[in-house]
Assembly symmetry: C2
Homo-oligomer: 234 residues x 2
């Protein structure tokens, strides 16, 4: 039923297009249905930092509409399909289906937790650990919404995207990725990532799954339940 409510405001954008820009009034919440996007900020001189990646099932800032101005931008990485849910609609949904409101709060908490782990990565992990960590994180998140097949998952990020996200140069990303490959930790081909031995990559990344809170009692509450094909039992 959620699907139907949202259907009035389904939008699509092409790769590398912004869907909302810093400084404007957010107005609505966005739910990613298909494709990847990213949240980013930039400095006046052009330096740019990716703050988060969004995959299907992710909500772009459920509560931002409380704020007057976006403090960051959101851009499509691949071709993107998303639902735009207006403020009133959102409030109505929350009031009507308490589980949705719960799911959203939970989603926000996990998002914040991921942001914190990114700060840890940027401050303390070296380039190898950082990139490895990023890939492990994305693999787990993709798996949670059923977008992996065995030990492989889609991976549309360019080395430039990885550079923006880690604060490194794409030249250095390239060199480190080559080492990860030659160490047999990852295989990357045609935008498909294969992780032959997840445990080994996790160890190399100093990965501790706790921050993703995948074990939560309300795991089935994930906003992925808003994705098409799922039913809310209310």
């Amino acid at each position: 039923m959620l699907g139907r409510i949202g259907k009035g405001a389904i939008r699509e954008v092409s790769p590398r297009r912004d869907i909302i820009h810093e400084g404007v009034d957010p107005g609505a919440v966005r739910l990613i249905l298909e494709g990847w996007a990213c949240r980013y900020k930039s400095l006046p001189d052009g330096r740019r930092q990716t703050l988060a990646f969004f995959i299907p099932g992710d909500l772009c800032d459920a509560h931002v509409y409380l704020l007057r101005k976006m403090d960051h931008s959101i851009g499509a990485i691949t071709h993107l399909r998303y639902a735009e849910i207006g403020r009133e609609q959102m409030d109505a949904l929350a009031a009507r289906y308490p589980r949705i409101s719960q799911a959203i709060s939970w989603n926000e908490l996990v998002t914040a937790s991921i942001q914190r782990e990114w700060i840890l990565s940027m401050g303390q992990r070296n380039a190898h650990e950082h990139l490895a960590h990023l890939m492990v994180e994305l693999f787990h998140r993709l798996r949670a919404v059923g977008l992996t097949r065995g030990d492989t998952c889609p991976f549309p990020l360019t080395q430039n995207d990885l550079a923006d996200a880690t604060g490194m140069t794409c030249v250095h990303v390239n060199r480190v990725m080559q080492e990860l490959r030659s160490d047999g930790l990852i295989e990357l081909d045609h935008r498909e990532l294969r992780i032959p031995d997840l445990r080994r990559l996790e160890k190399a990344a100093l990965f501790n799954p706790g921050y993703l809170h995948l074990d939560h009692e309300g795991a089935e509450l994930e906003t992925s339940c808003l994705l098409p094909g799922k039913q809310l039992t209310h």
Copy 2:
């Protein structure tokens, strides 16, 4: 009246003590009444990263009680006085005073926004810009809760604290701070920070105040309204 409700659970800890540790069940929300604290994470080999600083009026993760386990720790920096507000109490408050619930949501959003700005700092700002930015941010936040006097504010952080927060070495923090001082951008003495020319420091920090959302229509909704001496008009 808030004050009274909280009064049953006012606690104190000495400097450098943890008030809650990664892995445990949070159970309650904490409201800082006096002193500074920090949120931090560490890697198994001891590398440590500060994720946020808390000053009076700050709420430590209003919604964390939805999660089973803390994914980070919170430690006192100075002597600290805080209120512990249990889950039921929190829910009761939120139900009774809608403005409080609003204030909390707003606080969470700002906290997340600050985390994002930190990622930007870590990834794109150099050491000078990063440290300058951190000081400007803290100054603004302290001013918003009335803890500045003119161009000065308390500043209990050691160079080690700054190193943990910025991902630099305390040796390098030292050198950069000396340059900021010799450039006349800051004066720091006896844990008191003076910023002779805020605009100039902000420029050096590439500071853009938007992310703090200080101009929000509900600025008076800040959780600082939970601090003693303030009345809720409901």
